[in-house]
Symmetry: D2
Subunit: 364 residues, 4 copies
């Protein structure tokens, strides 16, 4: 078992709560500004690791096998996906020690058994790992198979040193918030669609996007915040993004880059027709509802972390709020500078031609 702690200038804090504001009489203050970094501390050594991998990639398969052999040799129990267990057993019949799950119900309780998640792939593999754990998520260590990404800060070449270090602790952690998304079908709408029974819930780590699909008509989405009407979005669509997703689709649509640990939701229109539609950043506690008007000329389409396209008919709605269960991801650097390195290395942020002390604009 583990716990997370805030550290500040070298000192650990026994207080494991972040108090944004305390209200002493006549003295409203924000003690957390002293806290700098969350660290992972093991109360007892981790005993069970879950390895999740990008499919259809020989290099990933080989690394996964090597990692399994090593982790098994140091007496850790290991979970893999059903597909991976089959693949590994096809290679090596002795790998019956591999655990997996048989059903979605089993998956729901897996976080109680697993101490650490390891992903092998790119940011997409992390998104997919996060989608498996819809409730609490154990700490995640992500290895890049090629160039490093925002969510894959560890080089796969040195996976042993890296995993030993994290499993010993303490390790730097970035807390990544997620969005809890629910589709609510309009009464008439669901009828015509042969019973899509029950609620449809999706948990995203980057963003949920609503767009016009192949329709040549602009979307016209009604947006409500905590059940109060906010605005109509007219354009190609709308992105509701986490801060982690601020460097993905929201960025392409003109949103700001937000450190993943900021507790907020980004509201970013896609090619809005209005000149005055600037992105918004809303506080952590809001619930957004985005609804296709009952008399809309076209359907809309919703996608979750870039996958799982669903059609929204007239009157259907998406309801979205911050999930109660963020994803704790291990990082190599202190969290803020890990983010800043990412925007510089990964997105070429503020990169420009330099000229020995000269004025770049005028080049006199």
């Amino acid at each position: 078992s583990f716990r997370l702690e805030w550290i500040s200038e070298g000192n650990k804090s026994t207080q494991y709560q972040q108090d944004v504001v305390t209200f002493e009489s006549g003295n409203i203050s924000t003690p957390t500004c002293k806290n700098k970094q969350i660290i992972l501390v093991w109360d007892s050594p981790p005993q069970c690791v879950c390895i999740l991998t990008k499919p259809n990639c020989k290099r990933v398969h080989d690394l996964c096998k090597e990692m399994i052999v090593w982790l098994h040799s140091v007496s850790l129990s290991i979970y893999v996906e059903p597909r991976v267990r089959r693949e590994m057993l096809a290679d090596d019949l002795s790998m019956t020690f591999l655990h997996t799950w048989d059903s979605d119900e089993e998956l729901c309780f897996l976080h109680n058994k697993i101490d650490l998640i390891v992903t092998l792939g790119g940011d997409g593999t992390v998104l997919w790992a996060a989608s498996l754990f819809r409730g609490p998520v154990p700490p995640v260590v992500s290895f890049a198979m090629g160039s490093l990404g925002f969510m894959t800060p560890f080089q796969s070449e040195s996976y042993r040193e890296c995993l030993l270090s994290v499993m010993k602790g303490p390790a730097y952690i970035t807390i990544r918030h997620r969005l809890h998304c629910r589709i609510i079908r309009h009464s008439s709408s669901s009828k015509s669609r042969k019973k899509q029974a029950g609620e449809e819930v999706y948990i995203v780590l980057n963003e949920v996007a609503i767009d016009r699909g192949m329709s040549s008509f602009l979307t016209n989405l009604e947006c409500y915040c905590d059940n109060i009407f906010v605005t109509n979005v007219q354009g190609d669509g709308l992105i509701l993004s986490t801060p982690s997703g601020s460097t993905a689709y929201s960025l392409s649509a003109g949103g700001s880059m937000v450190h993943p640990q900021v507790a907020a939701m980004l509201f970013t229109p896609i090619c809005p027709h209005s000149l005055s539609f600037r992105p918004l950043i809303l506080p952590e506690h809001v619930t957004l509802r985005v609804q296709v008007p009952e008399k809309s000329r076209g359907d809309a389409w919703v996608s979750f972390d870039g996958r799982e396209r669903l059609q929204l008919g007239c009157g259907d709605a998406l309801v979205c709020h911050l999930s109660s269960w963020p994803v704790p991801t291990a990082c190599t650097l202190e969290s803020t500078n890990a983010f800043l390195e990412g925007v510089k290395e990964g997105l070429y942020w503020n990169m420009r031609k330099l000229q020995g002390g000269k004025d770049i604009r005028l080049n006199i």
Copy 2:
């Protein structure tokens, strides 16, 4: 004396701390998503009000006098600025009951005596009020003298009903974070400037901006985050803004609009020469240092909430972090929708021509 509480869907919470993340074993969760709104509750009735006013405005002067008479009649003690006390006594010799302060030292402890601050003017008067209280700030009620602003949500016409309601409580509160700014003079720089002794500290509610003043050379500012080099800003300058300031200068420079209660710092370049310089939103706990290079071709200028221009010489630096003491401001609506109403009413956000259900872009 008073306290602040979170309420959620009608229920008050006795817990007056905001726990962004709790780390139960194997269950990292964010309970605060349930909290929706901070409210002001009086443990004992407020007894002392401080009225702060926009100068050189007859309407403000008259309203201030009327308010003084009324508050005095209901047995509240009243503080005003030294200038206002002189003006009031010149009008009416009996107003000797007005309190004021004589020195900056006295001002430092004033928050212990004052239960409520009232401002009469525009958003600029709120900025100025915030600048007087550099430590803890009592709750602020702001009356607009003309059209409503982001920080002046109350109509002066109905000031009595409004003040009675707030002084009875509970009242909706928006917590507005501030920035603590310090100027650090370079050794050689300070010499040449006849000893600007000691530290120079400024507290801003909107933003601190560094620009090139009258220089025709682009600024070239070195930026450090938690003492690690981040980037050079080359352009007209740089804005470090609070979320409250996100609808002011940062917005003009292309920043996103951020709800004032989000705990974050905005890093927004002014006309950057680089194509790839997008605004950043950093977490609450960072310390930014912005430094004029030792071999800079021109000086830079820094201004605090649009006032107090100071020159920065070669090697001088600005160091900035979130202040520990935010400003609690009363609002008429629930905080999120107060903000959204503000961006719609005050900035014409997403306003566009409507055409009876038609496609606005193509107008077929």
Copy 3:
């Protein structure tokens, strides 16, 4: 028959050519800066009017009938679309005087018979009218049926005065450039698609857009200018727009607003993944080729003036240049101010809250 002339400060110019640059020895000058406005002058009175209408709208139908009766009474010959001729004859058997066309070949030569085009509808009807005349286009007078649009500056209420005035001349004209778009199928691609024989040519007045349709993969379009490789567009897609189209889709994607008479082509990415992808404005004489890579993971979709969606497979390309035949549209004001009124009235350009001489940003 008619001619167009430049006028400047009240004086007409007999010179009907616009010489952007003349090169006298040692004196490179641009005489056209003196020219201010193009006007339509009739050499002989117009004798034939073509009325084009928005379908499925009772108000448009009724106005069209009324206009036909009136134009017939003043001895003009009248062309309408085949559909409209059938509708009118169903209403009134005596309307056999209405001309129409039977085939696309006939349509190709129609501009030789028609002196004036009248549209009844919105900007979409003007787009559609322009698509019918792929070669030379007679002058167009466009009546708005509701609120005025960029291309529909005339109020339908006063259509008689307006048409009499234009048919007498002189009338203010805005020359609107168009794009000539050609789809080139890749050899392997066309095979798999059962022979889409011959060339596919489209003429657009606003824009041609390429997007990723329902694919969750970013488009990756190879762009060539005059057969030299320029860049890869990675994102939601790419818009090639005329200046007329600069206030339509290109604007939503972040492009500048360009006066319709500027001879140029806009190159505007849709949600590009790159931070440094700013819109380009290219000179009139370029030929752009946009190609789906031969090994693209997904198809792309192209649409012309928001209609006519076509699929582009691997290796297929769109080739685009300014059409030789612009659309001369009548305007009520001098052309530049007609455009500026349009962006203010139609798009609320630079609209903001005013406060009696006060600083809007700070609202002190």
Copy 4:
């Protein structure tokens, strides 16, 4: 003596006029779309070269001296600035063959004597060269002393081959439009400023910018187009730019990148307070007037190509239109691709991290 010609697909055109629109009866067409590139052809060999240099740079001085010796040896007459003539004579008393000018009047007629201008320095030196020739400008060949710039496409290392090639002809030319700027003082304003007699005229190749200088108040500039009121600019200021200047200050303020040969004027606000203020691109024939309101709270400052700061008082105005005399600059490539190479090499336009055929956004 020389002339310029349009070439198209290898064929030269004897027609040296660019007819944007010709109006044959019933056939409004734009023949110029066939023209691709302007070339410089010498009717008689060039005989006189003017060398203009960046001051205070040893490398430039040495190269200039070497170039003078060589050009003199091939019997060309040579003009330099008075300062440079003095410097060269100080080095080498035999250089009395160098021509220069003594007065501004002489400078006004210099374009009749000079066949070719050579600049040694950066883009700033080209700006300065352009400012010397306020009327017709001979062709300009610009050598970069360090990295290549938008207007300095030639490497100084190979200056002989390059100059021989240009002086033989034909050479590729980009026509760069300029702005003619005039300051008009308000009657009361000029009185208070001790008679700044007569008109103040400036010719800029990049841009004229009006800003608020050190004032903490936003500028509030009244803008008129062809004497009709357009809008108030409220913010840090306004840039009126040529297409050449579109990659300089206007770009930093969010303007689009426009090919230098497009005949247009860019209207780009600097940090406007309004959400809906998007840059405009106006046609070549407009005259813009930007006026400080008579009751403005602060003065404004105007600068020309980043230099020559002037104060504008209440009621003072800047009047601006395209100059009749553009600057013909030699380029190494065909003009459009020279521009596109410039935005890629000089501004890192659309540069981003590539990952072997993978989706950059999701990095799956």
